[in-house]
Structures are given as structure tokens and as C-alpha cells.
């Protein structure tokens, strides 16, 4: 059984790094890359396997309602592939970027703990276990945000930790109410018992979990921590947080709870549409206002999460496919754009768009890949962002949700607007700025080029024939609540 290895390998590697590395970070880098690479390979193998038959792993010899179980259906495996893909490029990018801050193995140890926590959240089939893994991931995220040792970073990390703890407390209360209403913590068993339970209790639980996990996903009324935390963290960590963490801890859990466990009644479907539309519009307007390159990208993350939440509110199979595809695409292009901002920050020593200028001569690779990322995020055809936004808009029209469709179109136009600002001032300006820091290294270029190529390559997932083999099974597993219950309880 491969499932426990997704938690065991990064956890073991994280502590092994602290034992074997002395003052230098060479062994830490090698060990971290080996473990993430092996995890990427087994997650791809696991995804291919999970397309046909889903996997259940029980952590002890007892039967299901008493033991903790790990569940892998194709949606879980899809998330695992995304996590490890971004993690691998992020590690390759980190090597020279983090050395420019400090040469320490602690970064890699925390990084692997973050991966262990996220894998646990994605895999687990037990709601309290989910809470524990979530805390592991958040704990290392707080430390990594403060890694650069500057005063803004401590401030952002403190804010993030306080907001995160409030939502975790809320989730813990939700877990307590769940246990008192259902007398079990296994998600599959809860899903089976939901129809027999009083709707009032279930609705309260849904509300608590929307707020709790909505804060982790940074949906708009709960977004205040994200721009600070994501713009203060080191660039590879920003791309991990924006690309993967808010999805694994926020969106993934919301999808799991609302589609597989508690179900989504019409009230919550409307709530999701409203929250999604708010996120898209408000965050876009806030992003237009920003001059700090990483803050602009952080606000853009909130707005793109809005698209996913809006699609979840529409609730048809096509919309869910759009949401799942957008999760993958957003991870890829937002990861890429944060790497670009990181290399600009390292080379020029500034994050202010007004102090940048014509960078195509100074940093050809960075500006070329930034252009691809921009085209992709603003939804130009042949790049992946176009297809996922198109799916969401089409699904909205098909489901008769005209307002949602209008807001999604408006959101795409606004995305184009603030990314035009990003390009115009950041990369296509008039004056040539003078470089201050070290040159962009080969590893950083490799990470950027890999993700830029993936920006184009992942659009083939939409082609009929490939779509049926990759995205459709994922959507089926999300929609099919009875399948999840029988997977967990059938043994």
C-alpha cells in the first residue's frame, strides 16, 4: 500500500535533514529533492491507478468507524500530483534563492513538514485527523513566512498565525459538534448519516466549516491575512502558499465536505456564488491599486480562488470540471509568476513596479516566462487559463446563472487590466534599471521554464479524448457521493 508513504517520506526526511546536516545545506538539498521527486513519481503512478480503482488504507487493525483511514480517489490523487509538481519546481528554485538569504538546512526541514501536512490533509478520511495535519502544515507555513528575518515578515507571520488560530479554533468546535451529532469522526460514515440527521444541525455545521475553511482559502470577507503573508514570504514559499496551500487546506476541504460529506443545498450554493463573485470583483479592484509586484500577485490569487468558489456554487458537472481544471492551472501560472517576481527581486533588489523598466535585455528568460504567465492568467487562447475560465463561464450560462457568467467575464477583463499594468511597468517600461543582486541562476531558470512549458502543455487536458481520461474521472469522483461512502464503508 502506497498511501502512508505520502506522509511518512516527507516527515521522515524533514527530521532526517536535521540529524545529518551540519552547518551546510548540501545534504539537506539532496535529501529534499530525492524525497519530493520520489513522491512526485508515486503520486503520478497513484493517479493512474486511482482512475480505475480507488484505494482505502486503514491505519490499524480495527474496523472503519474506530480506526483512522486514508482514502485516495482520483480527486485526491490529482491534488497530490499538483502539490508535488509545484513543490519540486519550488525546491529547484529555492536552491540559489534561499542561499542568497541564508545557508541553512532549516528551510528544507520546514518545507518538507509543509508537504507532509498538506499530503495528510488531502489523503485523510477522518475529520479530526484532517485538523491535526492542517495544523502541521500551517505551523510550518507560519515559520516559513517569517523565514527572511525582516520586520515586515514577522508582522505578516504574526497576523497570519492569529487569523489562522481563530479559524482553527472554529474548525475544532465544528469537529466537536460533528462528533456530538454523528458519534463518529470518519467522513464516509458521517456522509451516510447526514440524511437522517436534523437539517438544522447540519446547516450549522456547514456554516461553521464555510467560515473556518473559507479563512484558509482566503475567500473575500476572510482574506485579510493573505496579501501580507504571501507577499512577505520568500518567493518559492509564496508560490507554494498561493499555488497549493490555500487549495489543499481551503478549497480541497470545502469540496470534500460539501460534495462528498454534507451535501450542498440551494442556500449554500447561492452563498458560494455570492462569496465567489465578491472575491473576483473586490480582489481585482484591490489588485489594480497595488505597486508592489508580489502584493499584486497575492490579490490576484484571491480573485482566482473566487473563480473556483463561483464554479463550486454553480454545482453542475461542467462547472466542477472548470473548478478542478482551474485549480491545476492556477497552481501552475501563479507559481510561475511568483518565481518571476522572486528573480526580479533578487536581481534588481526591488519589488516596486515603478522602479522596474525594460527588463527584456537584462533578464530575457524571466521576462519571456512572465509574459507566458501573464497571457495564461488573463485567459488568452491556447494557454491553459483560457480553457478553465471558458469552462466556468459556459457552465454558468448552461445552468442559467446569468449573473455569475457576467461576473466571471468581468473578472477575466479585470485580470487582464491589472496584468497589463504588471507588464507595462514591470517588464516593458522605458528606462533600464541597474542590477544590484546576483544573476538569476540556472536552477531558477529551469524552474521558470518548466512551469512556462506546462502552462501551454496542460491545455491539452481539455481536448476530447484526453479529457475523458483525466478530468472526467476526477469530476465523477467529486460528484458521486454514494461512491465515496461505499468506498469508505465497503472496506
Amino acid at each position: 500500500m502506497i498511501l502512508p508513504y505520502f506522509v511518512v517520506i516527507p516527515l521522515l526526511a524533514a527530521f532526517l535533514i536535521s540529524l545529518i546536516s551540519g552547518k551546510k545545506d548540501n545534504w539537506a538539498i539532496i535529501l529534499a529533492i530525492i524525497s519530493i521527486l520520489s513522491l512526485l513519481i508515486i503520486s503520478i503512478v497513484g493517479f493512474i491507478h486511482a482512475l480505475d480503482n480507488n484505494v482505502l488504507y486503514e491505519l490499524s487493525d480495527w474496523d472503519i468507524p474506530y480506526t483512522i483511514c486514508l482514502v485516495m480517489d482520483s480527486f485526491t490523487a490529482f491534488m497530490l500530483v499538483i502539490i508535488h509538481l509545484i513543490a519540486l519546481t519550488s525546491l529547484i528554485f529555492s536552491i540559489s534563492y534561499i542561499r542568497h538569504l541564508s545557508r541553512s538546512w532549516k528551510y528544507y526541514s520546514l518545507f518538507l513538514l509543509l508537504i507532509a501536512g498538506m499530503n495528510g490533509v488531502v489523503l485523510t478520511g477522518d475529520i479530526f485527523n484532517l485538523f491535526v495535519f492542517m495544523e502541521i502544515a500551517l505551523f510550518s507555513a507560519y515559520a516559513l513566512v517569517a523565514y527572511g528575518n525582516r520586520s515586515e515578515e514577522f508582522e505578516a507571520s504574526f497576523k497570519y498565525a492569529v487569523m489562522g488560530s481563530i479559524s482553527s479554533t472554529l474548525i475544532l468546535i465544528g469537529v466537536g459538534i460533528t462528533y456530538s451529532a454523528f458519534s463518529t469522526l470518519t467522513l464516509g460514515k458521517i456522509a451516510e448519516m447526514v440524511p437522517e440527521t436534523s437539517p438544522a444541525v447540519v446547516n450549522w455545521l456547514r456554516a461553521i466549516f464555510v467560515v473556518g475553511f473559507g479563512l484558509k482559502a482566503a475567500i473575500i470577507p476572510f482574506h485579510a491575512w493573505l496579501p501580507d503573508a504571501h507577499s512577505s514570504a520568500p518567493a518559492p514559499i509564496s508560490s507554494m502558499l498561493s499555488g497549493v496551500l490555500i487549495k489543499a487546506l481551503g478549497v480541497y476541504v470545502i469540496i470534500r465536505l460539501f460534495f462528498s460529506v454534507f451535501g450542498m443545498p440551494a442556500t449554500f450554493s447561492i452563498l458560494f456564488k455570492v462569496l465567489g463573485s465578491l472575491s473576483i470583483l473586490v480582489a481585482s479592484f484591490l489588485a489594480i491599486n497595488q505597486w508592489d509586484i508580489k502584493r499584486l500577485l497575492a490579490y490576484s490569487s484571491i480573485s482566482q480562488i473566487g473563480f473556483i468558489v463561483l464554479a463550486l456554487g454553480i454545482h453542475t458537472p461542467l462547472a466542477v470540471m472548470g473548478a478542478v481544471f482551474h485549480i491545476l492551472n492556477h497552481a501552475i501560472f501563479k507559481g510561475l509568476l511568483f518565481y518571476n517576481s522572486g528573480s526580479v527581486e533578487m536581481y534588481l533588489g526591488t519589488r516596486d513596479l515603478r522602479k522596474m523598466g525594460r527588463l527584456s535585455k537584462l533578464m530575457p528568460v524571466t521576462s519571456a516566462t512572465a509574459m507566458i504567465g501573464t497571457l495564461s492568467v488573463s485567459g488568452m487562447p491556447i494557454f491553459n487559463g483560457f480553457f478553465s475560465k471558458l469552462l466556468i463561464i459556459l457552465a454558468a450560462i448552461q445552468a442559467g446563472a446569468t449573473y455569475s457568467a457576467i461576473i466571471a467575464v468581468l473578472g477575466s477583463v479585470l485580470t487582464l487590466a491589472y496584468f497589463l499594468k504588471f507588464q507595462r511597468y514591470g517588464f516593458l517600461g522605458n528606462d533600464e534599471p541597474s542590477p544590484e543582486g546576483p544573476k538569476v541562476s540556472l536552477g531558477m531558470k529551469t524552474a521558470m521554464i518548466t512551469l512556462a512549458v506546462l502552462c501551454v502543455l496542460t491545455s491539452i487536458l481539455i481536448i476530447p479524448g484526453i479529457r475523458e481520461n483525466v478530468l472526467t474521472p476526477v469530476v465523477d469522483d467529486i460528484i458521486n457521493k454514494a461512491g465515496y461512502i461505499s468506498l469508505v464503508l465497503g472496506g
Binding site: 495544523e135 515586515e152 507571520s157 481563530i166 468546535i173 466537536g176 459538534i177
Partner: protein, 112 residues
């Protein structure tokens, strides 16, 4: 019922502290109060009228015992909260070194 209401008031006291206090240490303390109330909620859910502790020995009936699972959950969550509190205190110390104050209205380099 009254005891649940009191526990909820404890939660609100903590939340009030987090939202209104200006001192970093007081915010951390308020956060701890919130977390204690969450733990208390879990223990209250598990309590049974006239229940005894959940250790199965000879001559004891399992039916009369309180539910031990939430107690195990609370034990785990206390450990997590200890970690979070230590982390927050460490951050507060570093913030004090950088800014020479615990007042959050003076610690504002980030905006918007």
C-alpha cells in the same frame, strides 16, 4: 444548558480580546482563552450525567462512563495549541527586538 452558554461566553471573551486588544501579549492570551473554550466544548459534549472516568476494570460497566474519545482529541489539541502559543510568543519577541514595542498600532509597515 447554562453551562454551554457560559462556555460560549468564554469563547466570545477570547474573541473580543483578540479583536480589540493592542498589546501583542494580550492578543496571545486572548487566543489561548478562545482555544480553552473550544477544548471545554469538546469535554462538555462527552460528559454524561453522573458519568465516571473511562477506565474499564473488573466490575465496571461501560455504560456508565463518560465518552473517552473527545478527551483524547482535547489532549491532541492542547499539544497543538502549546506549539502555536510558543510560535506566537517567539514571533512577539522578534517583533519587540525589531520595533521596541508590543503595541500593534505602532507595528504597521504593511498596509492595504
Amino acid at each position: 444548558m447554562i453551562i454551554y452558554v457560559l462556555c460560549f461566553i468564554l469563547l466570545l471573551v477570547g474573541l473580543y480580546g483578540v479583536l480589540t486588544k493592542r498589546d501583542l501579549i494580550k492578543i496571545i492570551l486572548s487566543l489561548s482563552i478562545m482555544e480553552y473554550s473550544a477544548n471545554l466544548f469538546l469535554i462538555l459534549f462527552a460528559y454524561r450525567q453522573d458519568g465516571v472516568f473511562a477506565i474499564l476494570s473488573k466490575g465496571e460497566q461501560a455504560a456508565g462512563m463518560v465518552d473517552p474519545l473527545p478527551q483524547a482529541l482535547v489532549l491532541t489539541s492542547i499539544v497543538i495549541e502549546l506549539g502555536i502559543t510558543a510560535m506566537l510568543v517567539a514571533l512577539a519577541v522578534r517583533l519587540y527586538q525589531k520595533y521596541n514595542t508590543f503595541d500593534i498600532t505602532k507595528i504597521r509597515r504593511l498596509s492595504g
